[in-house]
């Protein structure tokens, strides 16, 4: 329905301008006295010879009429005329996309109900279907041109696996997406209170369809696969929980393909959880974990199995280029103790050197190049000149920095190569007074200001700690994916390669293919459990495993205790008219006013 309205009715007060124009014209229409010589040469207008009338009414000249029209149109433009259109009531369907919706095949029931709603309301103005998982995902927005006829296909994409819901975000989004007030239907198994909905409902009517299954459930709430470098074994750790009202015993089966390789039995009280650890020879095969709970006590099958791929143990490559033998040996010992390191000469991730720059032997005339590792460079300057006295402490250590984690320097005497004060503002990790001993001299460039001959730190426990931190710091910055096994609802992170073509740009698996932003080293973990491939244009980079491990969703006992369809908004909302949209029409009157003024000006030109 379209209605004209004036958003600023006070603008009509400007109609008094019409009176002003009339008065101005009265003055203008007054015949000004002018003596002339040849009066007989001027035409004689017909003047009625009537007596007794002192004031003559102004003649409604075209100019006056146009001026009045211009003022009138300007006044109308000032009143902010607008065309109010009332949008029809829309339909929004929000489907809870959390894992618990799969309990007792609740998701299929919800899909069917949503389909019925959509079929019944096919002809409404705006229709939006969205899933409320970790993040809102829009499945259908009729306003964007998607065909409502493909509703069944669209609803097939509803596969609830997420570890949490985002009903609040979805309601806010629905309010923005549908132009008019809408009937919002929320399908969920969580308890929703009237107050929580009413505050976000706005002009909308909210219907909540609660279809919870409060059944007993055994679940794997956590699953980790890790290499134990010390023992040279691989550990599979699984967190098992009993979300039922009675104690029970469940089998935890470790599978390699379809072959059972281990089985444990775990007894758990109601609501109790326990960790099960399997220790194996390291291998590259995917391993599965499956629960065999008592019959009738596993309402949610999806959280009773997990698949784990071998985690990547990225070694940190290093190269030691130190003249001082004592120092080089100490560094080598510390790196060996860290594990996960490998010595290479070409493009090491970590370069440990005592020179800042080096000449290219192939081209001696070339400018000296900085010695650097691909990830980090540790410079231990050569001792030269007079030996300086060593510091005994106290040392100022930046314990918040990952390179200084657990670094304890008590009993250390530290002989520096130079005792220059930190005036350049370098980021210091360890200082004695204002003399930096361990500091960043630039991005990815560390300096260890130490003279081995006058220090005991090389034999102190702090020395391997310092290098363990350094190796871990480098490992975290190695390009590529660091984690292989994920739970739904999280994010994939990887470090970018310097060569853009080596970075992943595609995530594929379980019937989906998702392009990745080349310059953004983060992506959502797919919502459906399974094995996925992370690849670039040159081929596969990594495979990742996604498991539906979500403690809060597996515990079905906390879901709503009722199954009902309720309208949680007030009764008045039923009569709420559609949202009004005001389209400004002031421009029409401005145009007419301009037209009247131009016409008046043109007439004036013609008359003169």
């Amino acid at each position: 329905m379209t209605v004209w309205t004036f958003l600023n009715p006070w603008g009509f007060a400007a109609l008094s301008g019409l009176l002003a124009v009339g008065i101005i014209y009265l003055f203008y229409q007054r015949f000004r006295r002018k003596p002339v010589t040849g009066l007989f040469l001027w035409e004689a207008p017909p003047r009625p010879a009537r007596g007794g009338r002192k004031i003559s009414t102004p003649t409604a000249s075209r100019s006056l009429l146009l001026d009045l029209a211009a003022v009138l149109f300007l006044v109308l433009a000032l009143t902010a005329p607008a065309m109010m259109t009332t949008a029809p009531r829309g339909l929004v369907i929000i489907l809870d996309n959390s894992l618990s919706m799969r309990a007792g095949e609740n998701d299929k029931k919800v899909r069917q109900e949503a389909l019925e709603l959509l079929t019944k309301r096919e002809n409404t103005g705006g229709t939006v279907v969205m899933t409320a998982g970790t993040m809102p995902v829009i499945l259908l927005n009729k306003g964007t041109g998607e065909r409502i006829g493909d509703m069944e296909t669209i609803l097939d994409n509803y596969e609830p696996y997420d570890p949490s819901d985002s009903l609040d975000k979805c309601m806010a989004l629905a309010d923005e997406m549908v132009p008019g007030p809408a009937d919002i239907h929320i399908f969920t198994d969580h308890e929703i209170t009237h107050d929580a909905v009413a505050s976000r409902a706005g002009d909308n009517r909210v219907f909540v369809h609660v279809t919870a299954v409060n059944a007993a459930n055994y679940a794997i709430v956590d699953a980790v696969r890790r290499v134990d470098r010390d023992k040279g074994t691989e550990k599979i750790m699984a967190g098992i929980a009993n979300f039922s009202g009675s104690p029970g015993k469940t089998g935890v089966v470790l599978l390699q393909g379809d072959r059972e390789i281990h089985r444990r039995w775990v007894s758990l009280g109601p609501g109790e959880a326990s960790n099960v650890v399997f220790e194996l020879e390291p291998g590259m095969q995917p391993l599965g974990i499956e629960l065999t709970p008592p019959a009738g006590s596993d309402a949610l099958a999806e959280d009773s199995r997990a698949l784990l791929l071998p985690e990547r143990g990225l070694p940190v490559s290093y190269d030691i280029s130190l003249t001082d033998r004592e120092t080089a040996e100490a560094v080598q010992r510390a790196l060996d103790a860290c594990g996960g390191t490998v010595a290479i000469k070409k493009e090491p991730a970590l370069m440990i050197t005592d020179v800042n720059t080096v000449k290219n032997p192939a081209n001696p005339g070339e400018k000296e190049q900085k010695v650097r590792g691909t990830v980090m460079t540790l410079e231990i300057p050569r001792a030269k000149g007079k030996r300086q006295s060593a510091f005994l402490g106290p040392y100022v250590v930046d314990l918040a920095h990952p390179l200084c984690r657990d670094l304890e320097l008590t009993g250390v005497y530290w002989g520096p190569v130079s005792v220059k004060e930190n005036k350049s503002g370098a980021v210091s990790l360890v200082e004695a007074g204002n003399v930096p001993l361990y500091y960043f001299s630039g991005p990815g460039r560390l300096v260890l200001n130490i003279r081995a001959a006058s220090s005991n730190i090389l034999r102190h426990p702090a020395w391997p700690v310092m290098f363990a931190n350094l190796v871990q710091y480098c490992r975290q910055r190695l390009p590529g994916l660091h984690k292989i096994n994920y739970s739904t609802g999280g994010f994939l992170h990887w470090n970018q390669y310097k060569q853009p073509e080596r970075n992943p740009n595609r995530l594929k698996g379980e019937g989906m293919e998702q392009p990745l932003f080349v310059n953004t080293p983060v992506a959502r973990v797919p919502s459906k459990p399974g094995i996925y491939s992370l690849s670039n244009n040159n081929g596969l980079i990594n495979k990742i495993a996604v498991n539906a491990c979500a403690r809060s969703e597996s515990d079905l006992r906390h879901l709503s205790k009722r199954t009902a369809t309720m309208e949680l908004t007030s009764e008045q909302k039923k009569e709420t008219p559609g949202r009004k949209h005001a389209t400004s029409m002031a421009w029409i009157f401005l145009l007419l006013a301009a037209l009247a003024m131009v016409s008046n000006w043109w007439l004036g030109l013609k008359e003169i």
Binding site: Y28, Q29, R30, F31, R32, R33, K34, P35, V36, T37, G38, L39, F40, L41, W42, E43, A44, P45, R47, K606, E607, I608
Partner: protein
Amino acid sequence: MKQEIDTIALIEHARVTAGPYSLRPPARLLRGPVGHAQGIDSGSSIDFYDYRSYQPGDDLRRVDWRVFARSDQMVIRRFRSEVSPVLDVLLDGSASMGLYPGKAAAAAYASSFLAGACRNARGRPVLVHNGQRFGGNDFEHGLAAVTFDQSIGVTDFSPPPETVRGPMRVIISDFLMPLEPGFWRKVSRHTAGLIVIRVLSESEREPRFHGGFRFVDAERREHYKDIRVNRSTVSQYKKRLNAHLESLEETWRGLRAVVVPLDVADDWKDIEETGKNMIAALAKQEVITLS
């Protein structure tokens, strides 16, 4: 704002300007009493002029007997006549001439100039204004007293009682008034020549005002018309003005009058330029000559 004219200075300036010029008698002989100026016809002065054959009735005293003795031809000796020309300057000193300072200044300038030229020709200028005559040295005094205002009322062009037969007559006016029938016959009667100086200001020739006006007759203030002036009314005014002027010019042609149209500005700053134009027009029509 109406500009005040320094009439005395203007008259003096025109008189000085007229110094090298003298009024030339019209083709028709000025037949006045014995005077000081040479006429253009034969007369009784001592200046020999021409011979012609004797005709019955000629004065035998003018027969050149010496020629008769030598050639038996009866010839008459002709001599230049001596005349004393009179110039009547009929000046319109009404309020219509004073409405624009340019018109009043031009009228005063023309009057003074012609009076000066007349004197240079040993003539006698007479200012006729509002039924009064100012002759001889009173000419300039009379001219200086012309106020071009309401004191005159409607222009009175009645020629003065003729004290001198056959004067030259100059009539200076804007002629923007309906003239009564027989006016021109009365004015041109017994004149040796008629010079018409028609003065019109710029606003009268090309009105540039618009809007609603109550036009009041400059001389008869009780007469008015309410006119809404626009392009159309101005156009009609100009048509009527042209028709009026054409009608006058036709009359003037019939009277063999010398017509000098003076189109002046509304103000009198360009009076010298106006004077030059007037002198050029008078010289072109041989009304004045360089003496």
